[in-house]
């Protein structure tokens, strides 16, 4: 059972991290249950990211059945999309963070 307060806490912490433009949490059915974006963008991300993380997982499994996908990072010109999928039954969620690249190292 998801502890809603804990989820809110994590979302708030992530959202306030430097460069984070937005976060989306997607459930096992590909539906966004949390998002800091407007509905249209959220729905787009939810469907594209779900499909992509399923495909990425099957590629990892095809390469080595013992292996498991842990994380994905898509760096684009404008920002980076970080995808943290969880595949364990009853915990199947995908956390998506869109982050602007921070240049001050």
């Amino acid at each position: 059972m998801a502890d809603v307060a804990a989820v809110d806490e994590v979302c708030k912490r992530l959202q306030s991290h430097k460069g984070v433009e937005g976060i989306i949490v997607i459930n096992a059915d590909g539906i966004a249950i949390r998002s800091t974006f407007d509905n249209e963008i959220t729905v787009q991300y939810a469907s594209l990211v779900s499909r992509f993380s399923v495909k990425a997982r099957s590629v990892i499994k095809d390469l080595d059945d013992d292996n498991e996908l842990k994380f994905l990072r898509l760096r684009s010109k404008k920002h980076e999309i970080l995808i943290a999928p969880e595949f364990e039954k009853s915990k199947e969620y995908v956390l998506v963070i869109i982050q602007a690249p921070c240049c001050d190292f």
């Binding site: 590629v59 080595d64 013992d66 292996n67 684009s76």
Partner: protein, 99 residues
């Protein structure tokens, strides 16, 4: 040609790197530091995944473009740089060198 060799050698000698593969845009591996079986597997599977990533970025914003893709798994990390003419794939164990 030797510049390509030098780059491949440099990447291959980097800490934790398990393999480097260059695939052309027809999915044919041009160079690889892995054995044939693994090379073929990566060459068959990774370019289409990176195409999917590229399309995803474009679908979200037609003015944006994919620059780099990192796939982290339990055992290692696959880094993909997909260009028009070829795709560069590097497999690295990210925990090597960390104590």
């Amino acid at each position: 040609m030797s510049e390509i060799e030098a780059t491949l050698t440099r990447i291959q000698n980097h800490k934790g790197v398990l393999g480097v593969i260059i695939v052309n845009n027809e999915g044919i591996p041009l160079r690889s530091t892995l054995d044939d079986v693994n090379t073929k597997n990566y060459a068959d599977l990774i370019p289409s995944l990176s195409s999917l990533a590229k399309n995803m970025i474009r679908d979200l914003d037609p003015q944006n473009d994919l620059e780099f893709l990192r796939i982290r798994s339990q055992k290692h990390e696959i880094m993909v740089s997909a260009r028009e003419e070829f795709t560069l794939i590097v497999i690295q164990d990210p925990l090597v060198g960390f104590s």
